[in-house]
Symmetry: C2
Subunit: 352 residues, 2 copies
């Protein structure tokens, strides 16, 4: 019940018949200690239930830790803004321990800028890094260097299939697509689903939502084998083009209810169109709590949003590194698949 343990390193030293210097050595596996002392000390620690006082420890080591977060650039109101908010929370936590946190951003469509970001971090002598990996190979190279420098790193948003990370915090992508389909279909008679996607100009860039889309399509082929899937591509930078494409979609699909889904955070593109064209007979589902998406939810142009606390993910990532740095603890779970939140117009105002 009581965590305010009173026994100090001095008590241990006395009981073990050594000096506190030696106790400290075994505590941190530093310097050489005779097997005999070591054993005795460990035993005494056990018996007395000694717990080190982290605050004394922090005070004494006066190290200069610095955590770097590598994430994509963003504009206000975009997906990564929420992550940045979480970094802010993490900074607050880490700051209490005298650990500073900074963000390094890169253009998620530009490999060079990612490489630059990594190099910048590497040359700054990081104590730990949080990374949202968009480029597979480059990231692998980067984390390998970190490993060699014994710098702990944690993935957020998505992770790679290597093993050296301290922790991962993100959404279960495949399941999120599966869930999304269930919410979209909702037990109705669905014979056509429009999957709206973002046209990506550069090739060679992996589509971050591909796994999610797979989950979506799997659900549909399992539950609605007859259902047709229509893919439609939207240009994120050209509103007129988007409207033209959507106009075409609505001309072709004459069903009484249109089922529309987007696997990324841009469902507001669709909502804005529907609002402008005053179209009501749609069931639209998308992802993530951008302000524009929430507005669409409230207005009824989007029926549901699947959200994740990407702020908490970032904050958790920073806490994990902080705790590792300060008290050498590793997170209880290495892979943390965070919950998928279903938002509709009645609960969205209590989110965040």
């Amino acid at each position: 019940m009581n965590s305010g343990s009173k026994i100090t390193i001095n008590d241990v030293a006395r009981a073990a018949g050594v000096s506190k210097g030696t106790v400290d050595r075994v505590l941190h596996n530093r310097g050489e200690v005779s097997a005999k002392s070591r054993e005795k000390i460990l035993q005494v620690i056990e018996e007395l239930g000694y717990r080190p006082n982290f605050y004394a420890s922090i005070l004494a080591m006066k190290k200069d830790f610095h955590i770097y977060c590598i994430i994509p650039e963003f504009n206000n109101g975009e997906f990564w803004a929420l992550t940045e908010k979480g970094i802010e929370q993490g900074r607050e936590y880490a700051g209490r321990f005298g650990i500073s946190v900074s963000t390094v951003r890169y253009d998620q469509y530009d490999l060079d800028s990612f490489q630059n970001a990594c190099e910048k971090v590497l040359s700054s002598g990081p104590s730990g890094v949080v990374i949202a990996p968009m480029f597979r190979n480059e990231t692998l190279k980067f984390v390998k260097e970190l490993s060699e420098m014994r710098v702990p790193y944690v993935y957020i948003d998505s992770k790679l299939e290597e093993d050296g990370y301290l922790a991962y915090y993100g959404m279960p992508m495949y399941q999120s697509g599966y869930l999304c389909a269930d919410i979209l279909a909702d037990g109705r008679d669905v014979d056509m689903v429009h999957v709206i996607r973002i046209a990506r100009d550069k090739k060679g860039l992996s589509d971050p939502t591909i796994t999610r889309r797979t989950g979506l399509l799997d659900y549909i082929s399992e539950h609605y084998p007859e259902c047709r899937i229509e893919n439609t591509f939207l240009d994120p930078r050209d509103k007129a083009a988007r409207y033209a494409v959507l106009d075409e979609l609505f001309e072709k699909d004459k069903s009484p209810v249109k089922y529309i889904v987007m696997c990324n955070s841009r469902v507001h593109f669709v909502a804005d169109y529907l609002r402008d064209r005053n179209i009501g007979n749609c069931r639209v589902v998308g992802f993530d709590v951008l302000e524009r998406n929430l507005a669409a939810l409230r207005d009824g142009y989007v029926q549901a949003l699947i959200a994740q606390h990407s702020d908490k993910q970032a904050a958790a990532a920073i806490s994990a590194i902080t705790d590792y740095l300060i008290m050498h603890t590793v997170p209880q779970k290495k892979d943390n698949y965070t919950q998928m939140d279903i938002l509709n117009k009645y609960n969205c105002d209590y989110y965040l």
Copy 2:
């Protein structure tokens, strides 16, 4: 960016031409300090941007803080078990600061036991208390004493309409009922809703879910003015009686789909019945993530659960008090209405 500020109380003392003892005095409004010194010191603090180092401070004061949590008793798998888990998390956090946390439980159907719990806490000299208030008047009396002793307290789960609390963490009850109705009805043709309730033996005990039920009924009368509401009462301790009552319900209601809702965490009572009787044509919605409710969700006997992170609520409550004790900060928001999570069979496994 950097929170590891380098300026210490010594720097301030030197710059102000006084000793650090004096600086400490103005920092904590302790002892008398000449107006002149005081002003000078304040100014220097401002100029240098001095931020005290909490860890040195904690180390030096070696105070003995103790937080008490007052919550209802429970059995394994019941609602309050999750709260207890959150208390455990909070204990871990507080423990880092040498603050201990203990739980005092009471019988939520017995006023005396609540009074006993309060007295016990009061006489233990609490540094702070977390309370889930089930008895209005007694709680008011209790918190008044706390206020007089200048002991900070925070409400979880529900709160009273007084003003002295440090913070509150809980679900927006009315809205949760409203949301629940929306999920239950889900745009279908609903002409009868069964509201299943718990028969409470003792009178004078306020029904904790009354606000939620109001939200539920309001939604229905707004969206389905013709819909009939049937109340059915279940005895929590008598399975046979529950089955009898439910048998009767199913004999009377011949509609093709039955709409069933419970406003508390016991929807597993209904699910168990449906499973045993092998009844499938129902749409059932309930609250809270008890293991038995989750099982019902997975099996399809309950379609949706509205959940809240009552563990996080408790943990947040303890953190709030800890932070207040250690660094004299008050929570950003006093009233924290936590999000309402919609769970179905596809996302429930990623919850908690």
